[in-house]
């Protein structure tokens, strides 16, 4: 168990100006870590919500600050947006008597594989994996290759476990596209797990349209009575759509492990 009673934890989420659920997992995990009393302060900050990345460090009073991106992969946000907006110079930034420690995104944690598999199991209880296509869907972007690489890596590892008849990947903004799932999967049962942090705009509202289980963008998940009505029968296939993996309560521990990993990796930078 880590204890950082003199440090602050700043969790960075994407947030949304359209979907109130986008920031929910970031707040959820921050609340849990705060409840455990491990840090002097715990704050959330967002690209699209307040407090913004430009404001949050003013709120922090500790001199020792861990910044953890609650993002599913390394990529445009973790490599461009967050360092730029927080004016970071590298993994360790020293400024005005403060030390800002920039950790890896939570999606780098090795337990993501187990979380993805658990989500797949929970979404389709009793459905035999050996007769099922598992489709991991991510964002993907032309702005940074690493976004899709992270999902690709998960797919590769899960495929090697030989649990599912096939394990495929698909993306919103780069090929193979989510909308092509019918031709890119072969089994009657298709379990789709969003490799996303939140059941927000993309995962809850956009991807169901791309999959064809909704004809248009629905209201946000928190404004629906029922989260999903699995399975969806489409063209003779049974499709099961899971909740985003970032909403797992275990993610609070993943965030804490990300801090531990940072300390281990940057032991010498910090001693300097």
């Amino acid at each position: 168990m880590i204890e950082k009673r003199k440090s602050a934890l700043v969790l960075v989420g994407h947030g949304s100006t359209l979907n109130p659920d986008s920031s929910a997992p970031t707040f959820q995990h921050a609340d849990e870590i705060d409840r455990r009393g491990l840090f002097a302060e715990v704050y959330c900050t967002f690209w699209k919500q307040e407090p913004s990345l430009r404001e949050v460090l003013r709120m922090v009073e500790s001199d020792d600050i861990y910044v953890v991106p609650n993002f599913i992969s390394e990529g445009y946000f973790t490599e461009t947006i967050i360092p730029r907006e927080l004016e970071l110079t590298g993994p360790v930034t020293r400024r005005s008597g403060k030390v800002i420690k920039y950790c890896e995104p939570v999606g780098n944690d090795p337990r993501m594989i187990d979380l993805l598999l658990r989500r797949a199991r929970d979404a389709a209880p009793g459905v035999p994996p050996e007769k099922t296509s598992l489709l991991i869907v991510g964002h993907g972007t032309s702005l940074n290759q690493k976004s899709a690489e992270a999902a690709h890596q998960q797919v590769r590892v899960i495929r090697e476990k030989r649990l599912y008849a096939e394990v495929m990947e698909a993306y919103m903004e780069e090929p193979p596209f989510i909308a092509d799932w019918r031709k890119n999967t072969s089994q009657k049962h298709v379990v789709v797990v969003p490799f996303f942090i939140a059941d927000g705009l993309h995962s809850y509202q956009d991807i169901p349209v791309l999959l064809g289980i909704e004809s248009a963008r629905t209201a946000a998940a928190s404004q629906q009575e029922i989260f999903r009505r699995n399975p969806y029968s489409l063209d003779g296939r049974e499709l099961y759509y899971a909740s985003a993996i970032g909403t797992e309560p275990l993610m609070a521990d993943v965030i804490l492990d990300t801090v531990v990993r940072f300390d281990r990796k940057h032991l010498y930078d910090l001693a300097a």
Partner: protein, 211 residues
Amino acid sequence: MISDELACLIRDGYNALGELGFAESLSGYRLYHWADRNSLSQARVYRSSKDAREIAKYDSSGAYRPLKGAPNLPRGWVLELPNINDLKRALDFFYPGAIATWLAFREGKTEPVCLRQTLNRQTGMYRVTRKLTADQAQSLVREACRSDSRCLRTILWGIEPDHPPDFLPASKSDPTVDQTGQKRAALPFLCLEACNLLVAAARTTVKKTSR
């Protein structure tokens, strides 16, 4: 400590921030919508600072409030909080960073950032915002940030480097003016840099013009 400073400010007579009113109570601090100050006995009582986050999430019609400075907080609630730390946390859920920003500004630890600088560092889908002209920027800010309907923050940044926000009504850039127009003893609610919503609106403006 920011909460100690807040306690001093309240003892000095400050009792409002944005649409909020607050005061010491027998059991700690009380926080409410300013418009409800004379009908608090009818308000629904909440006791956790985290309730503030939920109250601030939607307006009275149930619409999501992405911009926390918008003058559309729902009414009919009162937060009874045990101590100053909880009051500070609740205020940070309603108006994230407002108190820290004012204290930092007052102590000369932070400066406003002009809109041009904010737009010029944008990348990806927002890179195009650097094409926003000064005239477009002025009309956009005048409309998108107006205190009567859009945002209660006091704008301290101009469009170009070293330019004051003199295209706005003088009251909109004066930290001593209560943006709700009620002349209360309100803590200044500052805007030191354009928010992401304004950057997104700048993108829409540029895209419309280039069509």
